[in-house]
Symmetry: C2
Subunit: 281 residues, 2 copies
């Protein structure tokens, strides 16, 4: 298939318990239910589908339910850089809530499904269930933290450490949303995409992966990554999960994480109390 289809039937609303949206920790039961109900319009999207054209007007929040997507920029000389890797449970374009267009494009990397929430619908949700707004605000800050970490990685880590770090991050993120089986997960990215996400070339990603393989740390087969030695891999690249702000995730979803990635004593600030208004459209 090449296009996309709109469906509102089975399931007729997003089950957070199934996709385990990252925002969980901020949400009381009522808000969670309301959010699930709001996510009732889905688009089945095939690999390669452009979710959002570069610089295009946007007016709906997209939540990735299934499949992987990338957020990218194309530079003058044609070079591409992938500024975000999106996996199930991620919100694709948080900035749509405040700005009417972004300066990036978004494409599906694999077949998948997105929930589409028109801005008006999100605003209504904010009005009736304020914790949802707070949660989305928090999510923006989490994204911020993740961007800083990847930038640090690109700027200061060697290619091998950089790739290793990415794999560590993905394992943790995918485990949270239940998309990993043990230390292994489906991995639809081509080496070229990895290169564009880490500021490298596909050729060098290839050589780097070979080294990691040779060291017995990871293996890749059939679009599936397996981390054979989590301790070794995370030690190698100095992976520390703090920046993922796992404290934003409701405890019931933070199970079976790789060792050393507990959210420790960091606190999420919550318990909404005061009221303030938010912008509509």
């Amino acid at each position: 298939m090449t296009g996309s289809a709109v469906s509102t039937d089975t399931p007729n609303c997003l089950k957070l318990s199934a996709t385990r949206l990252w925002i969980s920790a901020d949400l009381d039961a009522a808000s969670r239910t309301a959010l699930e109900r709001a996510c009732s319009t889905f688009r089945e999207v095939s690999a390669g589908t452009e979710l959002l054209g570069s610089d295009a007007h946007a007016d709906a929040l997209h939540v990735l339910v299934d499949g992987w997507a990338v957020r990218y920029k194309i530079m003058e000389q044609g070079a591409r850089f992938i500024s975000a890797l999106l996996v199930p449970g991620d919100i694709c374009n948080l900035d749509v809530l405040r700005f009417d267009r972004g300066d990036y494009g978004m494409t599906m990397v694999s077949d998948g499904r997105v929930a589409v929430l028109p801005r008006a619908r999100v605003n209504a949700l904010f009005a009736s269930h304020s914790p949802v707004a707070v949660a989305l605000w928090s999510l923006g800050l989490v994204e911020n933290s993740m961007l800083m970490e990847r930038m640090t990685s690109i700027a200061r880590r060697s290619a091998m450490h950089c790739v290793a770090h990415l794999l560590c991050e993905l394992l943790v993120r995918l485990r949270v949303v239940g998309k990993a089986e043990g230390n292994s997960f489906e991995f639809p990215l081509t080496q070229e995409l990895v290169a564009d996400a880490l500021g490298m070339t596909a050729v060098h990603v290839n050589r780097t992966m070979r080294s990691l393989r040779a060291m017995g740390l990871v293996s890749v087969q059939n679009r599936r990554v397996t981390i054979h030695d989590w301790a070794g891999l995370s030690m190698l690249c100095g992976f520390r999960a703090e920046y993922l702000r796992l404290e934003t995730i409701a405890e019931e979803y933070v199970r079976e994480l790789p060792p050393g990635t507990a959210s420790s004593e960091k606190r999420l600030l919550r318990n909404p109390v005061e009221r303030f208004s938010i912008p509509s459209l």
Copy 2:
């Protein structure tokens, strides 16, 4: 001087009209006044002052009023990376509103002054003047956009284009807050700091600056950068100001920007209407 002093006297509150906080466009007159009043506690900080220790508990929002600061991470092997350059008018640690600690440190690069707003005070402000909360939310998204752009720069631009791009960005940002005189501005960063912000080495920053100088594009004297050929410099590195989201800045402050940096037709979504609660502490 080596420490810092608390002063609440002249001026006894922050004049937005003087520092031109980026958040202006979101704020009505009443909110703006309230925000100014809330910024009544200042710290005079000297160059080198640690505003926030790495991984330290934080509970106050800091607004940089005068001077430059950097947000940094130190990696295992001792390498440093500067994840943000902060100039007057910037908010230093937006994430303090949602998390109780960050994974970065913050240091003053020059002597300066910061306004300190305890979390409780910010929350009270949110309660009484909701547009302030919306403005801070927007600011977080702007920061996001800036991070993506710099990451793109580090990942895909050559050293020279990268440095050029940084200088372009700084000119625009400093003009907005009235800290540039024409195409020239004070520049307290050492070449080592620039290197740490762009993922390079100090030596190479030096060589790169020499090239830019040799091309007649910029010059540096007495800790002051002058851009002699804005068109040439911005063309060279493909600088486009969209990512700075200048539409978040009240129009009265967006004057005298370098050519080509108008905020064009992009809209900021505003007019707060609905209400939702926000977290305290």
